[in-house]
Each structure stands twice: as structure tokens, then as C-alpha cells.
């Protein structure tokens, strides 16, 4: 019987079968940030278990509230910083080098096809874009991961998401994943791996694949996953050139992880995107999604561009297409947070930061901040934000605030118009 990519990764990392339905896997990467890790650290200290299984497999970043906004967040950062230094964790990213974890760690080449990855962060599913099994976990799972290098999971069932056709102009990976979440609903993929395949995925950049996998959790998925190919190998090449004689050899080696043709799937969905319109959320759940035309005219107070979903260079380039030679509406506060220092730097070089600033945007440092209502763009009661992030939950970006999720292009269009509008008219 054939196996899916997830099953192959599980088999290659199996440490234990504590029950017929459960597995314990060895981990290749344990990632940590300052919101969910400090309590794990202080708990391990209190138990006299302040150890790490392998400092080279632990990657640490301060990203959620940075620079620290108050004494409490400064304390969280300090706990993480002291811990990383104490255990000689060399991949530790602090101010000047830090960025949104799920954008920064792929950039550093930490994720490889076939890896197992956990983090105390639900959007860890992003890293499945590299053909890895990457899952968000709570602090206790993180604690055991740090201490023992293992994590428990249920046996994976995989849902195959086949994306066919050709993406129309002005329509992106964000629109595709919002449409998929709408179709599946917010628990349509619970306990399942979402394997994204088809010609549209094959043609996507790594940035777009990360956007796609990033929101797998919003359909309840354990992990989004793409089959590693030429695009993956080219992205990773600077980090793997010592391991393979050439890119083609890497592509061949990666293919061993591909799902077998006779693999068993727990479900299959096909989406033809040829006629897909830009998608926007309404309400308070990420499956409450409409074509942008159905939301035309909804006023916005703030536009936020950034996050692990859409804060990468490709996203900034697309938004800049609309912002170039346009001023944003007087009634709108535009906020850009490039997801990493490398994205920021690249955007400076390409003149994109100037385009954003000339249009009236404020450019902040890389941070998760506003996406979860912690800093750098929190909403007041009743305010509406057009956002490139991943969650429109009640209160997500500030108590009483309302969030409409959309692509960077749609967000830029909303900034210029002062209300939600079809970005294709502005291209």
C-alpha cells in the first residue's frame, strides 16, 4: 500500500507507538518565541530540569512584541534571551536580526524536506511548504520537545487538495486558501494533514506556498504540506549546496518524500481557480469568506500589511503595484511591517519602502504585533481593519475591533479607496 508524504515522514521519525492510534516522533527542529516559551523555561527550571535535548536543533526568536512594549514583555524577552545564552543556542534572533518566526526561519534555511518541526505557535503549519511535517503545539508539548526532542501525534490522515487551472491576474495564494477554508469550514480538516497539489501549486513560489500552508490551521488542519521540487531546491540551494552536486540531484533526492500514486487519502478536494475572484472575510471566522465584490464599499479605518501569512517580499511587491503613484485615503491608517530584516532590506533596495511611505503608510520593524492585537497597530472598539493576516476572530486585533482578511493587493486597494474594493480595477 502506498504512503502519503506525511506517513513517510512519520515512519522515518518514529520513536514509539504508545497506542495503536498514537505515535511519538523524533524532532528535527524545535522553534521557540517569547510568548509561549518563557513559561516552559520557568517550569523546567522549577522542576530542576533546565536542560535542552540539542542546542543546534532549537531555533529561538523574539518576534511577537519587539522591541518590548512594557515591563511584562521585556521580562518575557529576557527569560528567553537568558535561556538561549545559557544553553549556547546559536540560532537566537534578537533585535536587529529578528523577524516573524514563520518568515524568518525558512529564510535561514532551517527547514528541509522530510523534517519534523514543532513550535508553540499554531501557524507552524507554514513550514509544510518545504515538504516538512510542521505542527503548532502548546507549551507542554514544547517543553517536552525542548527537553527530550520528541512530540506525540495521532496517526496522520491526509486530505488531498488539488488546485487546478491558472490563477487570474490580481488573484493570489491568499485568495486560494481563503476559498479553500470557506469550502472546508473551520473544522473541515481537523486532525488531518492538508496536502496541496496540482499545477497551480507547482507554479507557485516558496513564498506563495508558505501563504497557502500558513492558513491550514484555519481549517483545523494539523499541517499544510507541499511536495518538495525544483522550486524548493532552488530556494534552499544556498544552504544545501554542500550536500548535493547540483540542484537536479537535490530535486531527485527530495522526490523520495513524494506521496506514492496509490497512497490512501482521507478526502480529496479539487478547486479550479481559473475564475476565482479576490476573496475577503466577513464576520468572526476565517471560513466566512466572500468575493471582494460582495464586500465593496465596506469602510476601513486601518490597513495592515505584514505577518507570517503575507509579510514577505513578494507580498510587498504586489501591494506596491497599487500604491505606486497613489496616496492612501485620508481616513485610513496604513501600517506595513515587513516580516523580516531581509524582506525590509530587499524592499528598501527595490524602492518599495519609499513607495509605501510616499503613499502615506507607516513602516514598522518586523514583528507579529498588530496581527494578534499586542502592539504596533491595535484597534479601538468598532474600528475596522483590512488585514493581510490570518485571523478575524472577535477581538483578535484589539477588543471590539473588526478584521477583514485579504491579499496584499486587496489591502493596498482598500488603503487607497478608503473602503474594501476590487483591486483588479486598479491594476
Amino acid at each position: 500500500m502506498g504512503k502519503t508524504i506525511a506517513q513517510k515522514i512519520f515512519d522515518a521519525h518514529l520513536r514509539d507507538n504508545p497506542s495503536p492510534q498514537n505515535v511519538v516522533l523524533d524532532l528535527d527542529v524545535v522553534m521557540c518565541h517569547e510568548i509561549t516559551t518563557p513559561i516552559a523555561v520557568t517550569d523546567l527550571e522549577a522542576r530542576g530540569m533546565d536542560r535542552v535535548f540539542d542546542p543546534d536543533k532549537i531555533k529561538v526568536v523574539i518576534d511577537h512584541v519587539t522591541p518590548s512594549k512594557d515591563s511584562k514583555t521585556a521580562t518575557q524577552a529576557k527569560i528567553l534571551r537568558d535561556w538561549a545564552r545559557r544553553h549556547k543556542i546559536k540560532d537566537f534572533f534578537d533585535i536587529g536580526h529578528n523577524g516573524v518566526c514563520h518568515a524568518l526561519f525558512p529564510e535561514k534555511g532551517f527547514i528541509r524536506p522530510g523534517y519534523t518541526v514543532i513550535m508553540g505557535d499554531s501557524h507552524t503549519c507554514t513550514h509544510g511548504a518545504f515538504g516538512a511535517f510542521a505542527a503548532g503545539v502548546g507549551t507542554t508539548d514544547l517543553e517536552v520537545g525542548i527537553l527530550k526532542g520528541v512530540c506525540s501525534f495521532r496517526q496522520p490522515e491526509t486530505m488531498r487538495i488539488n488546485i487546478t487551472g491558472t490563477l487570474p491576474a490580481g488573484v493570489y495564494a491568499k485568495d486560494v486558501i481563503l476559498k479553500i477554508i470557506k469550502e472546508l469550514t473551520v473544522n473541515g480538516a481537523t486532525d488531518k494533514v492538508m496536502e496541496f497539489v496540482g499545477p497551480v501549486v507547482d507554479a507557485m513560489s516558496m513564498e506563495s506556498r508558505m501563504t497557502l500552508c500558513n492558513m491550514a490551521i484555519e481549517a483545523g488542519g494539523t499541517c499544510g504540506i507541499c511536495l518538495p521540487d525544483q522550486v524548493t531546491a532552488e530556494y534552499l540551494w544556498p544552504f544545501i549546496l554542500g550536500d548535493y552536486p547540483n540542484i537536479e540531484a537535490a530535486v531527485t533526492a527530495f522526490a523520495k518524500w513524494h506521496s506514492d500514486p496509490d497512497a490512501i487519502y482521507a478526502g480529496e478536494v479539487t478547486l479550479d481557480v481559473s475564475d476565482l475572484a479576490p476573496q475577503v472575510t466577513f464576520g468572526y471566522k476565517p471560513d466566512e469568506v466572500k468575493d471582494v465584490t460582495g464586500m465593496e464599499g465596506t469602510p476601513v479605518d486601518q490597513v495592515y500589511l505584514g505577518s507570517c501569512t503575507n509579510g514577505r517580499i513578494e507580498d510587498l511587491r504586489e501591494a506596491a503595484k497599487i500604491l505606486k503613484n497613489h496616496k492612501i485615503a485620508d481616513t485610513v491608517r496604513g501600517i506595513l511591517s515587513p516580516a523580516t530584516p531581509a524582506v525590509y532590506s530587499q524592499a528598501l533596495e527595490e524602492g518599495i519602502i519609499k513607495i509605501f511611505m510616499d503613499s502615506g503608510f507607516c513602516v514598522t520593524n518586523p514583528t507579529c504585533g498588530a496581527c494578534l492585537g499586542m502592539s504596533n497597530g491595535v484597534l479601538a472598539e468598532g474600528e475596522i481593519c483590512a488585514s493581510t493576516t490570518n485571523r478575524n476572530f472577535n477581538g483578535r486585533m484589539g477588543k471590539g475591533g473588526i478584521v477583514h482578511l485579504m491579499s496584499p493587493l486587496s489591502a493596498a486597494a482598500a488603503a487607497v479607496a478608503g473602503h474594501i474594493t476590487d483591486p483588479r480595477k486598479m491594476l
Partner: protein, 172 residues
């Protein structure tokens, strides 16, 4: 064995997410106890008051499908723990929340919708007692009803071990 059960807080809605259970602005706290006043602060549910005596006195939450979706924050489990709630009964759970409950040695019990409908119809004042050994829970409200439930074997072991850290430290 640890006792599981208590007065029920009914939350009659699907898809209650962890941002509603504990908003992100409180994730800067470095102790579990500091979360205590903020349980369910942003819950969008008509008529629900997080400061009500029903919420304050609860030992068990009874809710609907996909409870605990969204963020991985274990704070959503801890805020129940520090409010003396150690059982959540739902039609289904989001994966990470469910695992966090068992990892903390707490119970996330799934019941079919038909059983939940019976539970929700037992009146305003209901108490649930869980018999983990026999896989039964007894609800006392306008009348007394007993439901059978099943736990994944590994999840059950985690509860008996007092959580994943204790289990893993012994075994791996």
C-alpha cells in the same frame, strides 16, 4: 485518583476559539494564576457574562463543535485550570487545544450531538461527575442522566500520569 467534575457552565456555540477564551493581550503574563480574572473575556455569545456566578463557580464546561480552535496558546487550558475547571465536554475539539488539555492531565471529552442535546436540556443548574475508570459521566439537573464516553488510550494514560511531561520524562 484526581476527581473530575463540578457545576456546569454551558456555552451553546460552535467554533469557540482560544482568542475568545483568553485574549492575546494577556499572554504577556508569566504565571498561570495571573490569567484567572480574564477567562472567556472576549467570548461572543449572547447573554454570556464572564463575571457571572455561573462562570465563577463552574467546574465543567459543556459546549458544541470545534471547541478551542485557533491559536495554540496553552493559556486557554491554564485559564480553566486556575478557575478550577478540569473537564470540557464538546461534540469535537480543535487538535491543539485537545492535546493541551490531556498534556495538562485534564479531560477533553467528546460526546455525540444527540447526547449534548440531552445535556443542554437538563436545565440551568447541572452538575457533572466523571467516572474515568468506567468511562461514564453522570449529569444531575432537572433529572439525572448517565452517558458513556471513550477516551483515546494514550490520552487516558496522560491523564493518569498527570500530564505529558511526567509521562515523557519517565519513558523517553
Amino acid at each position: 485518583m484526581k476527581e473530575f467534575g463540578g457545576p456546569v457552565l454551558f456555552l451553546d456555540r460552535n467554533d469557540i476559539n482560544t482568542d475568545e477564551i483568553i485574549p492575546a493581550k494577556y499572554l504577556t503574563e508569566n504565571t498561570k494564576m495571573a490569567l484567572q480574572p480574564f477567562m472567556l473575556e472576549d467570548l461572543k455569545l449572547g447573554g454570556f457574562d464572564p463575571a457571572s456566578s455561573k462562570a465563577k463557580e463552574a467546574g465543567v464546561i459543556v459546549t458544541r463543535a470545534n471547541f478551542g480552535c485557533g491559536s495554540s496558546r496553552e493559556h486557554a487550558v491554564w485559564v480553566f485550570e486556575v478557575n478550577d475547571i478540569n473537564v470540557v465536554i464538546a461534540e469535537s475539539f480543535a487538535r491543539i487545544f485537545r492535546q493541551n488539555m490531556f498534556n495538562c492531565g485534564m479531560l477533553a471529552i467528546e460526546l455525540p450531538k444527540s447526547d449534548l442535546d440531552v445535556l443542554f436540556a437538563l436545565g440551568d443548574t447541572v452538575t457533572v461527575a466523571v467516572d474515568l475508570e468506567h468511562g461514564k459521566l453522570t449529569a444531575r439537573g432537572d433529572r439525572e442522566v448517565t452517558f458513556g464516553f471513550e477516551l483515546n488510550l494514550f490520552d487516558r494514560e496522560l491523564v493518569l500520569a498527570g500530564g505529558w511531561l511526567a509521562y515523557a520524562d519517565q519513558k523517553y
